[in-house]
Amino acid sequence: MGKTLALAGNFAAAYASKQINPQVVAAYPITPQTTMMEKFSEYVANGEVDTELVCVESEHSAMSACVGAAAAGGRVITSTAANGLALMFEVVYIASSLRLPITMCVMNRALSGPINIHGDHSDAMGVRDSGWIQIFNENPQEVYDTMFQACKIGEHKDVRLPVMVNLDGFITSHKIERVDTLDDKQVTDYIGPFETMYSLIDTDNPVTYGPLDLFDYYFEHKRQQVEAMKHALPVAKSVMRDYSKQFDRDYDIMEDYYLDDADYAIVTMSSTAGTTKFVVDKLRAEGKKVGLLKLRLFRPFPAEEVREKLAGLKQIAVLDRSDSFGAFGGPLFTEVRNALYELDERPGVVDYVFGLGGRDINAEQITSVYERLMSATERLAGDVNYLGVRGE
């Protein structure tokens, strides 16, 4: 095992990137991602990595450079947040369509406007249909370990898709916590050399990337992406489980906390899961049958697994750290509730949109959500609520 370090989420991501030692990193600074790239630039300047660091003029160019480097056949890492991801949007789709396994950290931050630099999930949710694998992480330790898992999942020959490693802006990106690291050699052995498929610079085996693809074949190529996403689910499961076995960790595509005998549960992602565990502990000590389902893998969405985990519960509240304006609830709510439709006896499911623009969520608020679930006398009927906003 490697050293135990005190690392903020961004430094955990940078340290993992150093150990991965990718061929190319192309990124543009944006709060709250900046310190990851600052740290990584230091590694480059000190000669601690062999990486070609491309300092581009925008996020659109950052992802474009990543696409080029990945098509050439290199392992590639980048990172961004909020408006940076929005500026990348076009090329984010191109990266997944060209089936390029790039790893991108997103320090989840509210999209403008009004301008706000703090954490919510609106950036990542804006690209949830883009064909990227999306993993949400609770704390710096998870961010660190997920960086290596991301390589394994995205680079798998049945998948070949880019992976977004999400962490809550400021809350996780700047929070210093204990991180148990791996030795450099453990990392190198685990991820192995990057296996290039269809290198753009292999002149013996020439290949054209991105030709015009009209009504005769575009649909077929989209169908291939669907298939790759289908494969990504079992691959993500086995990668996370193997990783846990190999390095004495406990990862899976989701984490359940006191769910087995629970009647009432919260479903959420990222750092809020930590606060929710604190509340579950407190309520369990009072004998309340409450639990938590924390999703790590959001794309591909593990509908069957979510259904299995939540079957038999009485009432469920989904905590969504972004809204989907005009939709029936936030993005996590619509997925979770949809997944439960096949059950004969469906639990009540309600949505709580919270934490927009970095608004704090505290134990009292989460307790009030559990209290509502526990006091309901009938099956709750899919209402959408706003937690922690004034004027309700």
Binding site: Y198, P211, H221, E227
Partner: protein
Amino acid sequence: MTLKGWNEVPMAGLVLDAGNAAEYHTGDWRTERPVWDEEKCKHCMQCWITCPDTAIQVKDKKMIGIDFDYCKGCGICADECPFDAIDMIEEDLEAE
């Protein structure tokens, strides 16, 4: 040509071999057809130089005709010919 299923083609629309432009019959696109008047032609090769689809057929330094598998009917040759030896007429799509 029978079109293939999603599981029979390379991923991402990649084209896995080079120099395959000849397999793409741009003649499909034609809505106008160049008609060459051999009498007026001075074999100056202006059409051959300017045709974007190398559809002008040449033998022994003489223009001998147009390859309609590739001629997309753009009319550049007709425009460039200094001797008005090429005329563009409407393609008879019904006859195809």
